[in-house]
């Protein structure tokens, strides 16, 4: 009987969710590893001196292109600076850009999504078309165009990466608002005679926010990668200390002989993105977002 099978199916799905929630030990090990990694990255961003004692601005051609192991942990680049030190000092730029770009994208995107979802009608249509237009370009390409147009400063990089994440946030928020707006308690607020502003900020927004928060964690990872890509292509800010993307590109000509210059920044980026998205998964389960 189809109905029975359907019921059995729901049961099995319920079971799977249950397993996910009760948390198998592999998951919690990964979670703790992610937390530990992000703690290190955060420490590097806040007080790099604790992790790397030597000055990243001092060039020493005599120590150029030393392999990992002897003397330096991760080897040195072509100007003799320690790759490990540069990675530690590059963390700040990565985190600042990741966090600020995501904050910008989330704010702008969520506001657009909220307005579109709540007002509907032609406003929704105009915002929707605008978002569609942004979405026509892949995120990296969009950020690239914007960064190229604005010129390479840290602020512009943040703007470029942030704008690239706007469409995602706008869509998620709009969808959530549409769902929550249909809930009875919103109707109840309306029947109580509350103002639209109160209805939106007290009753709709708090109930629509969770998926955007989850998305933000994932988005931080994406933003770090996009920012690194732009830096790699030379569209990042010109700074004395190279960020992770610049370090990647510094190592590019030496890839055949001195593989460590590019490889370690690559691994650092990958680990950071994985850690952030695992934390996002955990947060999603905690906030019970479907």
């Amino acid at each position: 009987m189809a109905a029975v099978d359907a019921a059995a199916f729901t049961e099995v799905r319920g079971l799977r969710r249950q397993l996910r929630r009760t948390g198998v030990s592999v998951n919690s090990a990964l979670l703790y590893a992610s937390l530990a990694w992000m703690a290190i990255v955060a420490l590097a961003a806040l007080i790099p001196g604790v992790l790397a004692t030597d000055d990243p601005t001092v060039l020493d051609p005599a120590r150029a292109l030393q392999p990992p192991g002897a003397g330096t942990l991760l080897g040195t680049e072509q100007y003799g600076r320690s790759v490990a030190t540069l990675l530690v000092h590059g963390a700040r730029s990565a985190m600042v850009i990741g966090l600020l770009a995501t904050t910008f994208g989330m704010l702008v995107g969520s506001v657009l999504g909220l307005i579109a979802g709540y007002l509907g009608g032609w406003v929704d249509m105009v915002i929707g078309r605008f978002i569609d237009m942004l979405m026509c370009f892949p995120g990296v390409l969009l950020a690239l165009i914007i960064a190229a147009a604005l010129g390479s400063t840290t602020t512009n990089l943040i703007l470029a990466v942030g704008i690239a994440t706007v469409p995602g946030f706008a869509r998620v928020m709009r969808g959530q608002v549409l769902t929550v707006r249909g809930h009875l308690y919103v109707e109840a607020a309306r029947s109580n005679g509350f103002s639209p502003a109160r209805t939106v900020f007290r009753h709709i927004l708090p109930n629509a926010l969770a998926p955007s928060v989850v998305m933000a964690t994932v988005s931080i990872g994406v933003a770090i990668v996009v920012a690194a890509s732009l830096s790699f292509l030379g569209l990042g800010p010109r700074t004395e200390v190279p960020d992770w993307g610049q370090l990647l590109s510094l190592g590019q000509p030496y890839l055949a002989n001195s593989w460590w210059i590019s490889t370690f920044p690559g691994i650092t980026l990958t680990l950071t993105v994985i850690a952030v998205s695992l934390l996002g998964d955990w947060l999603r389960d905690r906030l019970d977002v479907e």
Partner: protein, 342 residues
């Protein structure tokens, strides 16, 4: 009532626990009941009484959830259901045992039309030619009062009304010619005029096919209309098992009386306030000591607060109460609650 007919289903001391963070929470504590061939037994109770869990356990559905553990015995037509292999159980479902759910629309798969869903059910039972199949489907639909069967077969669930979907669900159950139909609140989501039609249909199938029915309902009116036997559950236990006449006119358990008393009358004097049962159904994870009804019971004595009464048979009525009543409901016996805390 056909007391001499053979027993189709016998539940004895059925127990269902759900594991919540390591503690076993009893959803059904002691469900004992029989359904005889050709009999309609109505399992009544409020939400949280365990009546739906009981029904789903008979079908082997609660057991699919690893957090549920089932104890006691369920003998169906001579076979102990809880000893059957998963494969045997699966074969039993949809053949000798069929179930109809409360939400007709969500019990049908939205992506297939009625034709393919019914055909799938039929093919599990027997293989006949395509043409004969279609004939059987139309026949089954006609049996449940759908006369434009070919249109309905082409339809998708969302194109049909709730009553129509419920008919299709029943037709699907009937294609298997089950010995026992378990109907879990089959008319709760339907309008009263449609409910009347579905109840008539179930009654007719019982008469014509000698099918046994276990009908789960919260509506005492539905039970009064259809039941050969009324089984009342409260907080996971069967508290009363009686013939309809006894259950309604001479309820032995104070809970049954309370339930009946709070239904507003359709004729005669209207009471100023309804004699409501105070309080609410207890949470299964936090059951009162003794008889779980005692905090709400107007007849509760000292003993009721410490000792859980066993289900005892007295003159054809089984009742789990230390102080069963045998008088017709008197209003003075019931507490009138004026908006008291629940």
């Amino acid at each position: 009532m056909t007391t001499t007919a053979r027993t189709m289903l016998a539940l004895t001391g059925l127990r269902v626990d759900v594991d919540r963070h390591g503690t076993a929470i009893p959803l059904v504590r002691d469900a004992t009941l029989q359904v005889r061939a050709g009999e309609i037994v109505c399992l009544v109770g409020e939400s949280g009484s365990g009546k739906s869990v009981t029904a789903r356990t008979i079908m082997g559905l609660t057991q699919l959830n690893p957090r549920m553990s089932v104890g006691g015995s369920a003998v169906f037509d001579g076979d102990e259901l809880f000893d059957l292999s998963a494969e045997r159980m699966r074969r039993l479902r949809g053949r000798e045992l069929a179930m109809v759910f409360q939400e007709p629309l969500s019990s049908l798969d939205p992506v297939w039309n009625i034709d393919s869903q019914l055909r799938e059910g039929l093919r599990r039972r027997e293989r006949v030619s395509q043409k004969a199949e279609t004939g059987r489907l139309l026949e089954a639909l006609a049996e449940v009062g759908i006369h434009d069967g070919s249109r309905v077969l082409r339809s998708y669930p969302h194109q049909l009304s709730g009553g129509m979907c419920q008919r299709v669900m029943i037709a699907m159950a009937l294609l298997a010619r089950p010995k026992l139909l378990i109907a879990d609140e089959p008319t709760t989501a339907l309008d009263v005029t449609i409910q009347a039609q579905i109840l008539e249909l179930i009654d007719k199938l019982r008469r014509d096919e000698d099918m046994s029915v276990l009908l789960v309902t919260h509506d005492m009116g539905v039970a009064a209309d259809l039941a050969d036997r009324v089984v009342v559950m409260y907080a996971g236990r069967v508290v009363e098992d009686a013939s309809p006449r006894d259950a309604f006119a001479r309820s032995a358990h104070p809970y049954t009386r309370g339930l009946l008393a709070c239904i507003p009358p359709m004729i005669g004097e209207r009471p100023e306030q309804l004699p409501a049962i105070p309080g609410t159904v207890p949470d299964p994870s936090n059951l009162p000591t003794g008889c779980s009804y005692h905090p709400r019971c107007p007849r509760a004595s000292e003993r009721c607060t410490v000792e859980d009464p066993p289900l005892t048979n007295v003159a054809g009525t089984a009742v789990a109460c230390w102080r069963p009543g045998d008088v017709v409901i008197g209003e003075d016996e019931l507490v009138t609650v004026r908006g008291q805390a629940s």
